[in-house]
Amino acid sequence: MSRPGLLAAALALAAPAAVAQQVDLQVAPQIVGDAIPASLTGQPGAAARGRAIVANRGVGLCLLCHSGPIVEERFQGDLAPNLAGAGSRWSEGQLRLRIVDGSRLNADTIMPPYYRTSGLRRVARNFQGKTILSAAQIEDVVAYLATLKD
């Protein structure tokens, strides 16, 4: 199921085209089983920052499709699983791969690939070559989701 080399190669290939997230794209996430065990930045993320990213519909976009235990944000989505308990269901590494590119586990997933610039079609000009979140932002989100224990 996992083809770690392919994703890394794809990201590396995409790197020269990137501008805003160029530094991030030099990171080659190593997939092991159904997870990316190592931090994309080599550093742990900050859960508080991660919560803010998840809550922000223009940045994390998470609450458009998911609901989560963020009470101050009304009108959350219900297309995707509730984020509550995500930290019990998945390890940090599993969460990381699901955010980076969930299609590596399920080709039909509706979860957007948050850290991929290759294999996408007709990306709007102002988003071309850019990932949805930076590596550091993904680490913050992973750190936050890991705190959501049932």
Partner: protein, 151 residues
């Protein structure tokens, strides 16, 4: 999908009007109270006689139907002379003031308003005898007004 960015833009716009000689920077519950005080002066405002018909949950704040109806015989001796509507979260607290008289037969006014966020709306009716009656309603807005998407 990127609505927050536009919300942020709206917030900037609200901030910008501080430099305009409008008296209020943005409507807040306090600004609304101030605007109401300007209309009613020292008079007491009582709840009742007014009904404010607004959908409790609106899908888009850009066009929210509103009807204010006031119990009144609408005769020369006793009629509603004005209906004022206020909000607490738009850039300014005044929504409209309608002036009526016995020729209306019925003290009912309908229109459509913009709501920048979920908030409380207050309607105040002024009788020919100088009394003030009011009603309020809370509206939850799924999508705020003043947003736009790149088209």
């Amino acid at each position: 999908m990127d609505r927050r960015r536009f919300l942020a833009g709206t917030a900037t716009a609200i901030g910008a009007i501080v430099v305009l000689p409008l008296g209020t920077a943005s409507a807040t519950p306090e600004a609304m109270a101030g605007a109401i005080r300007k209309v009613v002066g020292a008079s007491q405002v009582r709840e009742g006689r007014v009904s404010l018909d607004l959908p409790p949950l609106v899908e888009n704040g850009s066009t929210v139907p509103l009807v204010v109806s006031v119990e009144s015989p609408m005769r020369e001796a006793d009629y509603i002379k004005a209906i004022h509507v206020f909000n607490e979260k738009n850039p300014q607290p005044n929504v409209f003031t309608a002036r009526l008289g016995p020729r209306n037969g019925r003290a009912v006014v309908g229109t459509r308003i913009k709501l920048g966020d979920s908030q409380k709306i207050v309607a105040i009716a002024e009788t020919s005898g100088g009394q003030f009656w009011s009603a309020s309603a809370d509206v939850i807005v799924t999508l705020a007004a003043c947003l736009d998407e790149a088209t």
